[in-house]
Symmetry: C2
Subunit: 226 residues, 2 copies
């Protein structure tokens, strides 16, 4: 089996991405970043997801991005928005987060001798995040193929973003077909310590609407009445 590095956050999208990478026949090395996110239970979810979907191994890299500030996800002084997704780039955007995570995946891929990185970015629901767009992923791949010893020696690296053009409902249907247990995942930006969701933040709204549109029962535990 060819090795792949799969970025696993603990959320719905990356769980589906891991299931797709496994279905494609890859030996999956799951990678999570502990960047000081306020939704800590997503890291516990990442562990459950990696184990339940047959990842070969799972590593959590600690890198404290709180020192840089600038995001509602890492700065407790900025409230998580609950007013619904609007135009523009949301407060929950973390500066250069996907670039940092893909860079770490790149380092690990090179050490593993892997030419494949999977990331669950999505341009439909997250159009406000520049680092979830197809042109960004292509530019990262081009850079990565000039960055490493492996690439320079001819082992081309590919960034797989299999969800990039899917709606949330399509992602959920695809994952359900592959047996993903979405009850293990945490999407909420302010989940409690048990991983129960608020039901109100942008991420919760998108997720709940996705289950409704997919016609699949929402297994999410909520800590407030939704």
């Amino acid at each position: 089996m060819k090795p792949a590095v799969v970025l696993v956050s603990g959320g719905l999208d990356s769980a589906t991405t891991l299931a797709l990478a496994r279905a494609d026949g890859f030996r999956c090395h799951a990678l999570s970043l502990d960047y000081g996110q306020r939704h800590r239970s997503e890291l516990a979810a990442a562990r459950r997801v990696a184990a339940s979907l047959g990842a070969h191994e799972h590593r959590v890299i600690a890198l404290d991005l709180r020192g840089f500030g600038g995001s509602a996800l890492t700065d407790s002084g900025i409230p998580v928005p609950v007013a619904g997704t609007g135009a523009g780039i949301p407060l929950t955007y973390v500066p250069a987060r996907n670039t940092i995570m893909l860079s770490l995946a790149l380092a690990w891929a090179e050490v593993l001798g892997s030419q494949d990185i999977f990331v669950g970015v999505n341009a439909v629901d997250y159009s406000g995040y520049p680092d979830c767009r197809p042109e960004y992923i292509r530019a990262f791949e081009a850079m990565a193929n000039l960055a490493t010893k492996a690439a320079v020696e001819g082992h081309r690296l590919q960034i797989h973003a299999p969800l990039i053009d899917l709606t949330k409902a399509e992602i959920i249907r695809r994952g359900a077909e592959l047996g993903v247990d979405y009850g293990l995942t945490v999407s909420c930006y302010q989940a409690d310590a048990q991983g129960r969701a608020c039901g109100q933040c942008d991420s919760c709204r998108l997720r709940r609407a996705g289950f409704e549109a997919a016609g699949i029962a929402d297994p999410t535990p909520y800590h407030t009445a939704p």
Copy 2:
């Protein structure tokens, strides 16, 4: 003064880069990465360099790359080469290191409202490192300009690599003109706890030859007779 993020490792090249950024009129935010490198004294050197060259502030971000392995600089099981620089990519190459460091600089630059990142990469002496080449730097810059909220809003980011085409002697002469105290810097891959150099690794050889070619006395403290 416009803010710039300057990657400062504690070595000769990044000290010169910081001096050049200051001479260009930037308010310099120095950034170092504690990645588990065996030459720990380079981080102490980074602090001295940042202070002596008038950096506005200096942050050290901890990110343990030892878990990934694969380099003589982070894996104590791989000896540092002392046989001289040969063809190909050296054992001291750290997978994706510059990509990771530039990604962190990108995050901080966005939070600071900075459009300028300085990095002391050099393609002359480090032609064996893919991530020290001009085409790599251009590709990173292209990716960065698709990655962030700031770039998408029209604030173009520039990666400055002012040493990229200089020889070691040219770098040293330029830094000496700007008052860089190279006695504060540590280049050695296996410096001792006091920052004294081995005089034998590739980095020491390049550095010593640079001072000779520049006609400038080498201020490096050695822990073995050179």
